[in-house]
Amino acid sequence: MASFNIFDIKREYRLVILFILIFFCSILSFYSYSVEEIKALYVTFFFIPVALASVWWGYKGIIFSIILGLYMVLINIFMGLDYSLVLIPIRLFVFVLLTLLVSNATEILRKSESNLIKTNVNLKGESDRIKLRISEIENENIRLEEADRVKSIFLSSMSHELRTPLNSIIGFTGILLQGLAGELNDEQKKQLTMVKKSSQHLLSLINDLLDISKIEAGKVELNLEEFDLIASIEEILDSFSEIAKEKELYIKKDLPTKIMIYNDNRRVKQIIINLVSNAIKYTDRGGINISAKLLDNGTTEFSVSDTGIGIKEENAFRLFEPFQQIDPNLTKKIEGSGLGLYLTKKLILLMGGDIILNSTFGKGSVFTVVLPTKIREVQNEKNINS
């Protein structure tokens, strides 16, 4: 005969057996033992099985111990025993609850561990997705850079192609105006002058475009040399004196006799020309003032101020963006490519300098340019796209 093993019985039946055992033991205890002995029995017969039952049964154990507790209370009352005895099953009940909580806590721990594992797996998946996305973005970046490069090549070759026919237009218009191909009457001269002005405007637009595409492609090299900034400024102001006279504007100067700087003379001139021509363009009364000074910190500062229309503060940031003219009504009156200041700023940044605008709407603007007095060679190679 096989040996009897209590664990071969189903867990539910085991508990029923336990319950019956407890029941008979307690009935027996009330008849044959003193109150003190009953207390001892409670501890012996209820404490261990109830605790075990609750561990086995989990949440069902709570219900079981509640029923057991109620049963104990009812028995006590029914038997007319001392009410203090009621405390015993209540204490047991609390104990059982604590036991249950411990077993539950273990279960919660186990669950949270498996949750952690799950989360880990999820995280790994997530990290794989992120890696995939990063490589997608990298590829996208490469595509964008390529597109940008193609755009720059397109712009520079287009600029060349556009300029070639324009060279003939400007050249032949010049010849005709000079009378080399025969005498012109006044109306013909007037119309040809219009053609010449328009074609020169178109040329400067194309040149700006070419410069910008070169800067953006990182292809602009500065031809560095030492030169006198003041001499360059004077030269430029001379070339603008006639236009200023026509508009009845004054040109004031606040310049030292000489400032030797090491930079690209042609590009620095380009910057000054742009600022001076803008100042004259947008000023109808008063005039412009140009000043320059050598600063102690290895930089040179020059500024162009005017008594022109000025810029509202909220529009100032748009000024250095491409194709922005602040007042659309003005665009009709004043020719401009909308690239001048954008290009100017790009060049200044390329040189390692900065441009600052101070303006009062309706009263005028001051553009201040700060450039390193001696530009370092490395800045030449710096890619200003970044």
Binding site: R163, N167, S168, F172, I175, N223
Partner: protein
């Protein structure tokens, strides 16, 4: 009469320069490619060569180098460059040009600029 060789591939530009020079009493020879330019420079030894830098076969810089390496040509060579060709200034001078004129050609100053090289 001073003799000027124009090396230029663009028909309109060629006509423009030729017209201006002839109206100002210079005699002109034309070449439309770099090779032709070298050949004519050696054959004719003109007073001045106006050399376009961008040519269909060999560029103006290379053509200038070859003319100069030939040795016998005494012509002044003036390069005609596009605007803002970075480094071209040094390149053309190093190749043996005496100077350069930037496109677009300004008819008002062009002849005076040439006179500077022809004197």
């Amino acid at each position: 009469m001073k003799k000027i060789l124009i090396v230029e591939d663009n028909e309109n530009n060629l006509y423009l320069i030729k017209f201006m020079l002839e109206r100002n009493n210079y005699s002109t020879i034309i070449a439309k490619t770099g090779e032709e330019g070298i050949k004519k420079a050696i054959e004719e030894n003109p007073d001045l060569i106006l050399m376009d830098v961008q040519l269909p076969d060999i560029n103006g810089i290379e053509a200038t180098k070859r003319i100069r390496s030939f040795g016998k040509v005494t012509s002044k060579i003036v390069a005609v460059t596009s605007y803002a060709m970075t480094g071209d200034k040094e390149k053309v001078l190093k190749a043996g040009c005496d100077g350069y004129i930037e496109k677009p050609i300004n008819p008002e100053t062009f002849i005076n600029e040439l006179k500077h090289y022809l004197s």
